[in-house]
Symmetry: C2
Subunit: 300 residues, 2 copies
DNA sequence: GTGTGTAATACACAAATGATATCAATTGAT
DNA sequence: ATCAATTGATATCATTTGTGTATTACACAC
């Protein structure tokens, strides 16, 4: 019993005429008759009552017809599903992201992705960079939006957003209004930074910037998210090191300044397991590249 | 793309090993590999990722697996349905019946039938005998419970219940208490009968009984149901001709008497179109015969 | 009675399924 | 590092099976 038999049966049931049904099936009548006979024999069910002049469905045939149609429809759907899944138009995509991505690029990308691929269920997990690396290696997430660099050679990364960092001062801090801000000005300033574990790239860059100038910055507080850093700055605890986009938080107690001639980079990358072959992931990455380009073309 | 391919795919997906899958399918490995390749090619979808050492489902394969299982299950169900329908264990049975059958045999048979064939939907229509004949010929009902005789040679009938008729007197009627009741006693009695159109068998038998005695009964009122006849009797309109089972109506104003030596028959038959091949009908008739025998064995 | 329409049958051929033998590649053990 | 074992792919062949052509059997209509 094969799908072919069902197709033949449905067609004969619709035409109630072996000749016409055969024509519709682009075959000749004798093999069609034979296939129907074979179907009936295998099922142990008489589906048609043939007088020499008419063909009609038996009761069993009448009840079999809608079922057979459904099997064929189901098969078609199974095929569709598989094809869509292969094209990344159907499926599941689990994305890890660092908290800061929430304020910037993530909403825009997700919105656009859901518009283009409404049948992919997107699952989001806020995770720190190292947690994302673990999750990627374990296959718990398909993609990470994280702060490079990461070490594993099994993971491929690609920058999504390359911004700069700024220093966040309490608004009445003496250096907040200074014309040019140099490294030397910052020698004894108490700093608040995101901990190395959470954002090693920034932490190390920050340290080496000062080491090049011959001293070590005074880090008085570490935090797990840059939003928290801004909070501590506005509480007057110290000067924060945060991505320039932090300005979007609109904290009226904080003022943002760049260090003159010494940019600190704040890069957000997307990371994937190289061998992950979820087609939805490829689509997501392609889309992200496109969205990113659109944005980088427009003046910041 | 045939069901065979789906079976093969599901098995390989379950085993993730072509050799073991082939063994389970009672075939050898090479043709199995080939069939899967063929399936993938026809679908245009890679279902498995084969390294030389492992087999695993692709994302598309993962989404296809449950769909494929469902197609196979649906096919099985289609087969079941057809087989049950052929055995009369599934389907639809439309039964016409005369009102009087409600009080007697019908409830018992229907109850037993529904117990034995719960998946057949039984549809009941109260119809007069001639309406049932029309409905049978049109195929609107599968079976009729009606009063013979009927004329059409396309219809087969078989008695379900052979009872006798009685005369129904108002309880204070002079003849109600008479020892022996003869035709002669009834010469001028006003009769109430069920109209010829509704119950031709009884009507004609009633008339010929009197014609044999040399006179015509005085019919003062006709009715469409015997229950109505009893009602008219208890209102004192006349003497009713009704099946003996009318006694079960427990009308305290009516008294029932037989005509001595001249039985009037009240037969209820089941009738079917000879060419109707609804298997549920055959089952119903078989069951009815059995139930009827059980009943006729017990003393009435 | 003859002719048309319809499904079934007989037979031949082509296509495809499955089996056997073999290969290539990877893994794990000695 | 080399070798054996495992595993899926490939090649080739036999068998089965699906399909086409020709024909038959039967019913119904004129």
């Amino acid at each position: 019993m094969e799908l072919r038999h069902l197709t033949y049966f449905v067609t004969v049931a619709e035409e109630l005429h072996f000749g016409r049904a055969a024509a519709r099936l682009q075959m000749t009548q004798p093999p069609l008759s034979k296939q129907i006979q074979q179907l009936e024999e295998e099922m142990g069910v008489k589906l048609f009552r043939r007088t020499k002049r008419h063909v009609e469905l038996t009761t069993a045939g009448e009840f079999f017809l809608p079922e057979a149609r459904q099997v064929l429809a189901q098969m078609q759907q199974a095929l569709d599903t598989a094809q869509k899944a292969q094209r990344g138009e159907f499926g599941r995509l689990v994305i890890g992201f660092v908290g800061s991505a929430t304020y910037d690029i993530l909403p825009e990308i997700i919105r656009e992705y859901r518009r283009q691929f409404p049948d992919v269920s997107v699952i989001l997990h806020e995770l720190s960079t190292p947690d994302q690396v673990d999750a990627l290696l374990d296959g718990r997430i398909d993609m990470g939006l994280l702060h490079p660099p990461i070490s594993s050679s099994l993971i491929a990364t690609e920058p999504v957003q390359t911004g700069v960092c700024a220093l966040s001062f309490p608004k009445n801090h003496p250096l907040a209004g200074k014309d040019k801000l140099t490294i030397e000005d910052l020698r004894d300033v108490p700093f608040i930074v995101v901990s190395r574990e959470i954002w090693p790239g920034l932490y190390d860059e920050f340290l080496s910037l000062f080491q090049d100038a011959g001293f070590t910055p005074r880090i008085v507080q570490e935090a797990t998210e840059y939003q928290m850093v801004v909070g501590l700055v506005s509480a007057g605890i110290g000067v924060g090191v945060v991505p320039a986009t932090a300005e979007k938080l609109f904290n009226l107690e904080a003022v943002y300044r760049q260090i003159d001639g010494a940019p600190l980079h704040a890069v957000l990358s997307m990371a994937r397991l190289k061998k992950n072959s979820n087609p939805a992931l490829d689509q997501f990455i392609t889309l992200t590249r496109r969205v990113r380009q659109l944005n980088s073309e427009s003046p910041v």
